[in-house]
């Protein structure tokens, strides 16, 4: 358990900043997710915290102690890699035992700890196998067991679920969160998958071009995006943005942009928006409607996501008046892209 801080942490690659002066504090036992598109600097940030990448400037502190110049092994952090990075020539037992052997632990103690970690992830029967004899899900568990076994102060996870197939990923996500809660170990988790980020994180840091755009709970980043980048990065499909001459950018989420009957019982102020439907995708639980806004609104492309529970007969090439509740409208400064509250 530890508090991890970065202060003005910067990494320069080939003349541009991959990580640009990031100040970040990860709390005791917190599950923090670094979320961003590829090239946003999230993995570089994680690798600097791990000690695998040397910062150009700035400091990394663990419980107030400066660890910037410590080797990766001396930081008491464990890392799970996207590729799992299991030692292919060693059995599962020896893979998990490796960090303990590096600490010169006694043999019987090692065996005891390896069994404890293996049982935690249900891989006790695989200890004698080699990594190549394991399935993707089993390899991932071995990687986790190897990280857990020495009870580190911090877990660093670099897209640990992205090599699993979709079905397994959901189960693994659930397990990952359970064991993190049980061990109450500070965890920093890198992903480009917003579903993982929203589902797992206590807080999410959204990065782009080496800078944090927003740091907040999953609810905050979804409901109150700090700027247009966060607004369009979080949510699938992304938030609709309407730029109008001389006015703030107006944003609304596809699932809030619905035919009027969806809000029939609501007594809240509504904003009506004329909508020309060009194409409909039926996804079973939802319908996605692609189209453009019509006059007096500018003709921008927007998407509506209608839940299956809303009964409305709609087809392509039709004009409708769709509505958004006033409180679901977001406004952003047209110059900076920063959020300027719900009301203009």
């Amino acid at each position: 358990m530890a508090i991890v801080e970065t202060r003005a942490l910067t990494k320069r690659f080939d003349g541009s900043n991959a990580v640009d002066g990031i100040d970040l504090t990860v709390g005791e036992a917190e599950f923090l997710v670094l979320l961003g598109p590829s090239g946003s600097g999230k993995t570089t940030l994680l690798r600097m915290i791990a000690g695998l990448e040397i910062p150009t400037s700035g400091d990394i502190l663990v419980d107030g102690r400066n660890v910037t110049n410590l080797s990766p092994g001396a930081r008491n952090m464990a890392m799970v890699f996207q590729s799992y990075a299991l030692y292919p020539h060693l059995s599962v037992f020896r893979n998990i035992a490796f960090p303990l052997q590096a600490q010169h632990m006694r043999k019987d103690e090692i065996a005891q700890k390896v069994n404890w970690a293996a049982n935690m992830f249900g891989i006790g029967q695989l200890l004698q196998r080699k990594p190549r004899q394991l399935s993707g899900g089993e390899r991932q568990r071995v990687a986790l067991a190897r990280a857990v076994v020495r009870e580190p102060a911090v877990f660093l996870l670099d897209e640990p679920l992205s090599n699993l197939d979709a079905k397994l990923r959901i189960a693994a996500r659930d397990e990952l969160q359970q064991f993190q809660r049980r061990l109450a170990t500070t965890t920093i988790y890198v992903t480009h998958d917003q579903i993982e980020a929203l589902g797992l994180g206590d807080r999410i840091a959204i990065l782009d071009h080496g800078a944090i755009h927003q740091l907040g709970t999953p609810r905050q980043v979804y409901e109150e995006p700090a700027d247009t980048f966060v607004a369009t990065f979080i949510g699938a499909p992304p938030m609709n943005l309407v730029e109008r001459e001389g006015q703030p950018i107006m944003g609304f989420r596809p699932e809030h942009f619905l035919p009027p009957q969806a809000y029939a019982s609501a007594s809240e102020p509504l904003q009506t928006l004329p909508f020309h439907i060009t194409r409909i995708e039926n996804l079973g639980s939802d319908r996605l409607l692609y189209g453009t806004l019509a006059s007096p609104m500018p003709a921008v492309k927007v998407i509506s996501r209608i839940p299956g529970t809303v009964d409305a007969t709609l087809s392509a090439d039709e004009d409708h008046s769709f509505v958004v509740r006033q409180r679901d409208l977001h406004y952003f400064d047209p110059k900076t892209g920063l959020r300027i509250g719900r009301q203009p």
Binding site: A85, H89, R146
Partner: protein
């Protein structure tokens, strides 16, 4: 037969060209290599087996079957056993050095630094140069009068003005000399092979070892070396075969001397068979190399297979 289907298929049913028939094409493309091996390896091999069981000499066209007489004479000959011992010493010492130095060089070249391509080029140079030309260069380096080694040692004050080490003329120095040249010659190949093996290890594995707190030696001995072991064994195999069968270095530098102290099986077979004129015995000596090499190849390939990981 009269169905519309077979009528429609008829125009397609033509003779497939050679490029479409994989099996036939494969045979044709393998053929030149097979002919080459049969003529330049298989035929001499069978011929030397035949000679070794005969009384063949240079200029003798009337061969008589001699049974195992040649082999019986060889194993009673002190020079043969001396050459056998020299071959083993020459091969083992040079290959141990090649593998260790090759590993160190490969690890150094694996890292990025300025002028890396130049260093790589320089290291590869001995392998590219014709073996006899390189060895003649070494002949001058080892020359008793002009030896740059002696000059350097004297300039550094390591040997006195009256000491004249004769590199190729003193038994122990001569062996050191041919080992040195063989290491110089085979190091580039081993380095490049091991470098390829090192590049094949994903960076994540090294990162994981760093995170797990492995220091330099633990990382080297428990992760790095085991992972390149299969490919290091391939490098070793090449080195052993090349060294075991090589006679150019010995031929150019020492002619097996002084007092047969650098005589190896390959050079002994040549000196006995061609300048000495006793083709039968030369053939018999050279055949002694064969079972030894087969054993080495089988052993190393088995180990490499067992150590293989993915």
């Amino acid at each position: 037969m009269n169905s519309p289907r077979s009528a429609a298929a008829a125009p397609i049913a033509r003779e497939p060209t050679l490029t479409e028939r994989d099996t036939a094409l494969g045979r044709w493309m393998l053929a030149p290599a097979l002919v080459y091996i049969a003529l330049l390896v298989g035929f001499p091999f069978l011929l030397s087996m035949y000679y070794s069981l005969s009384n063949a000499t240079v200029g003798n066209t009337h061969l008589q079957f001699a049974g195992l007489d040649n082999f019986r004479q060889i194993v009673q000959d002190g020079t043969f056993w001396r050459s056998m011992r020299n071959t083993l010493v020459f091969t083992i010492v040079s290959q141990v050095l090649v593998v260790i130095l090759g590993k160190i060089l490969a690890m150094a070249l694996y890292n990025d630094f300025r002028g890396k391509w130049l260093v790589r080029l320089l290291i590869l140079l001995p392998w590219v140069a014709p073996i006899s030309l390189g060895t003649i260069g070494w002949l001058w380096i080892f020359d008793p009068v002009y030896s740059i080694i002696n000059w350097t040692l004297r300039a550094l004050g390591l040997i006195g003005p009256d000491t004249w080490p004769i590199w190729l003329g003193q038994p122990d120095l001569a062996m050191i000399s041919i080992v040195l040249v063989d290491v110089w010659r085979l190091l580039p190949l081993a380095t490049v092979i091991i470098l390829a093996g090192l590049s094949g290890i994903p960076q994540d594995i090294h990162d994981a070892a760093h995170m797990d707190g492995a220091g330099f030696w633990r990382h080297l001995l428990r992760i790095n070396i085991p992972l390149v072991m299969p490919i290091m064994l391939v490098a070793l195999l090449f080195g052993i075969v090349f060294t075991f069968t090589d006679m150019i270095i010995v031929y150019v530098l020492t002619r097996g001397g002084p007092f047969d102290s650098t005589q190896v099986l390959a050079s002994l077979a040549f000196f006995t068979g061609v300048p000495g004129g006793d083709l039968a015995q030369g053939a018999a000596i050279s055949l002694f190399l064969f079972p030894l090499l087969v054993a080495v190849v089988i052993l190393l390939l088995t180990i490499a297979r067992r150590a293989e990981v993915t």
